[in-house]
Symmetry: C3
Subunit: 370 residues, 3 copies
Amino acid sequence: MAEQGAGPGLRGARCVPWALGELAEALGAGYDGPPETVIERAAALDEAGAGALAYLSDRRLKDRLQGCRAAAVVLRPADRGYWAGPALLSDNPELTFARAAARLHPAPEAPPGVHEAAVVAPDARLGEGVHIAAQAVVEAGAALGDGAFIGPGAVIGAGAEIGPGTRVEARAVVAGGCRVGARCRLEPGVVVGSEGFGFARDGARWERIPQLAGVRLGDEVEIGANSAVDRGTFHDTVIEDGAKIDNMVQIGHNCRIGAHTAIAGQVGIAGSTAIGPGCTLGGQAGFADHLQIAGGCHFTGQAMVTRSIDAPGVYSSGMPVQPGRRWRRSVARIEQLEALYQRVQALERAVAGEIGRGGEDEDSATEDGE
Amino acid sequence: MAEQGAGPGLRGARCVPWALGELAEALGAGYDGPPETVIERAAALDEAGAGALAYLSDRRLKDRLQGCRAAAVVLRPADRGYWAGPALLSDNPELTFARAAARLHPAPEAPPGVHEAAVVAPDARLGEGVHIAAQAVVEAGAALGDGAFIGPGAVIGAGAEIGPGTRVEARAVVAGGCRVGARCRLEPGVVVGSEGFGFARDGARWERIPQLAGVRLGDEVEIGANSAVDRGTFHDTVIEDGAKIDNMVQIGHNCRIGAHTAIAGQVGIAGSTAIGPGCTLGGQAGFADHLQIAGGCHFTGQAMVTRSIDAPGVYSSGMPVQPGRRWRRSVARIEQLEALYQRVQALERAVAGEIGRGGEDEDSATEDGE
Amino acid sequence: MAEQGAGPGLRGARCVPWALGELAEALGAGYDGPPETVIERAAALDEAGAGALAYLSDRRLKDRLQGCRAAAVVLRPADRGYWAGPALLSDNPELTFARAAARLHPAPEAPPGVHEAAVVAPDARLGEGVHIAAQAVVEAGAALGDGAFIGPGAVIGAGAEIGPGTRVEARAVVAGGCRVGARCRLEPGVVVGSEGFGFARDGARWERIPQLAGVRLGDEVEIGANSAVDRGTFHDTVIEDGAKIDNMVQIGHNCRIGAHTAIAGQVGIAGSTAIGPGCTLGGQAGFADHLQIAGGCHFTGQAMVTRSIDAPGVYSSGMPVQPGRRWRRSVARIEQLEALYQRVQALERAVAGEIGRGGEDEDSATEDGE
């Protein structure tokens, strides 16, 4: 494939230049340097060219400022000495940078209105400035808050509510009766309100247990591409304010996700599990059903969580990869562990007998009956 | 986020009251109490208020009946003594409750007809009472059985067949030539009939092997949001009657899933693997390709299945999470296992030499060549 | 469910017969047998009936040629002796077979044109022979190369580019500003260009870091159903030529996937990780962020990759399933490992004291501070 220079995406190609002083004022940040310094775009620190704004979040990266040609750098006041050029000063450089980038590269605006190829039920309630794109469907009794964005092909089910300023991107689905708060963002392909995995046994058969409740998303919840949140059985499945959910995450019926909890890609949370606020869940982690996870818990990737956790902390499981040959040996060694324990016990007895100390018998592995 | 009371979803808000006696008759269940007792809705046992029907599936939960204000409770005849109020009597309270809930809260009805913003090929065959929602597409030669529901934005490919009473929810896709049985349910975003992952090597390149067959779903198969079932190479990929599949499950080409097998979220099954009937697969479990799994096998979450299994039973793998510090120590200890085996062997030799017994040499881990 | 004979899918039902000699010439392969031998369809070796073409890729399967009724078999010249009937001769039988199958069962043709129920922006640029299906959306400034196929309900965002001969299947989304090369294939439900998981901390809150760049796919890239590729922050997320990606794969922002790398279902790759060319990633494998993985690495299913890898090879992790009882014992034994090391160390000291050798002290597990 031909290398054709950095792709600008859609948004990087849209630049609104700012003067350093005005940008600082708009962001409520300090600055140091000529206020008229023109900033044209946001960039990574190690590739920030002329006109760019970069940021230094971690002092350990300060060598990257050497030879940096950025128009200005966001950094902590205490780090001001590492950079001779114009600066935005902030105790949280990453946050200030994120906000500057949003001003330098505003998202494309969606003009208010309903596309002629959208289908909107006559009794749907549309707030001011709502945008409904082509091929979207808004069913009977749905309500869209002011400034809501419904992307191409998205579906808002009967009686669903979308809060003000919320974006439902292309082909996302908010099923009937579900409620989404303000300033949320549902990426393409998201499904909110699918029927959960609830079945009663009928001999060898399974019969569906009706899922009577919905899903309720707080404000500023974001959900990544092709993720799904099942509706509740009797109570809404709830995702609290500010929770951020990555792509292909599965959230089962009756779950509750705490405020500002961040969930990385492909995490799975089985039904009726509650995750506290302020947690971080690493990619592909899996949670069994009916667990209670305390706030402030952090799980590394692929963590396997089968019991409730009542204390904040870092939790991990799994073995990192090894070269195939070593891994096979490890698997074999683990499978032989039972025999190893017995050998050690035999040694202990032999040595105890020999040198006159009593052997210990602490070898029984705990084992649940089935 | 403001707590605004329990969300009723779409369906929980629709209540059709029943008299106890009539409900019992409709369900073929027994009852005990005034037949005119009015039941207005279904609820969980620990929150069932006036007018609600709850159920007691497990005698160990009988304390929850204390102070319960439910209008009636479904329970086993043998448990009748734990509850003084009106009761529905059933040997399978959960099943009877599920059926009662479906009557108390009927699903919204979709009126027969084709929405004017749907696109239906002229030669598609539509049964009686078919509902085709806005923005749906039904391609040439497709056939929909009586009472089939095609949701908003759903796509039924050329020549595909949808059985009577089957629901294809919003934005689900049934690709060309695939066949779905009766009374199935495909949740939003499901893809049935994607091209499987079949490629031939051409030096460093991969070249697609055409996937010539389709997918065949039996009756009463349910598939959760954003799951995918690949079409077969020469034979249909098959999902047998009554199998229930949760969200984001991947089923590779040429697989066969046995009748009434239940597959939890994010399970992955690689190509040409056959899972027997009556199995349960825990969330995020993974199955290698070309395996044969016997009927009646149960796999816990994140199970890693790399070999065929010929006997029913419970199968597990993986280590549950530990606090990060302990986990790191465990990882290190496992990586040192080889050395530990050697130390034990050295001890055995030393002790044997000392006390005149022969050492054993059983330490070689089985190791496949590469 | 009734067994109704093998399902032909859509494509297997379309057969274009070829004469052996002409097929060999079209494929640039040798042949042996009557050139007029009629071949009607492609089939698996162990079920190839009259008129079928099968292939022998592995000499160990040669017994399957016994009694095979195929019209012709593709095999290596050196294997010619195992099959008495007509043959196509190739040093890469699987590849030659794949190409023959594509000719025997051509994919349904999509006639050029824009469906009247598609929405195409007036300034979109459409190449020759483009097909845009019903309910598709092509936004402002998008460009479609010659022969591009945009399936039903698919969405091509503003300014996106789709290369010649590329297929964007039903309901796939290519978001604004993303670029897809030539002869690619995006299966139903794919999302290219979702906003990545990039957030700055603001106390307990998270605030989105704008994702300014796009996604760039090389030529002949294939992506499976419901997979997602996030757009880059400052640079495009890149998938190089010929990479093949299976269903429900998550590729984070700023990743780079090397040419001809094959990624099986449900793999997750966190942000800014680069995978070299010619790798194979087994199903459900997970990669942490900011890793560098050398070309030519092969990972088995569910591999947990937390560090960069600089040498080609096979890498694995995880324990295969065991019967539940044995697994519980293994878990317990692993949890007791620390104590076992101490017991072995005590034994070593005791034996050393007894037999006059010095004990070793090599028991401290490496442990990172937190």
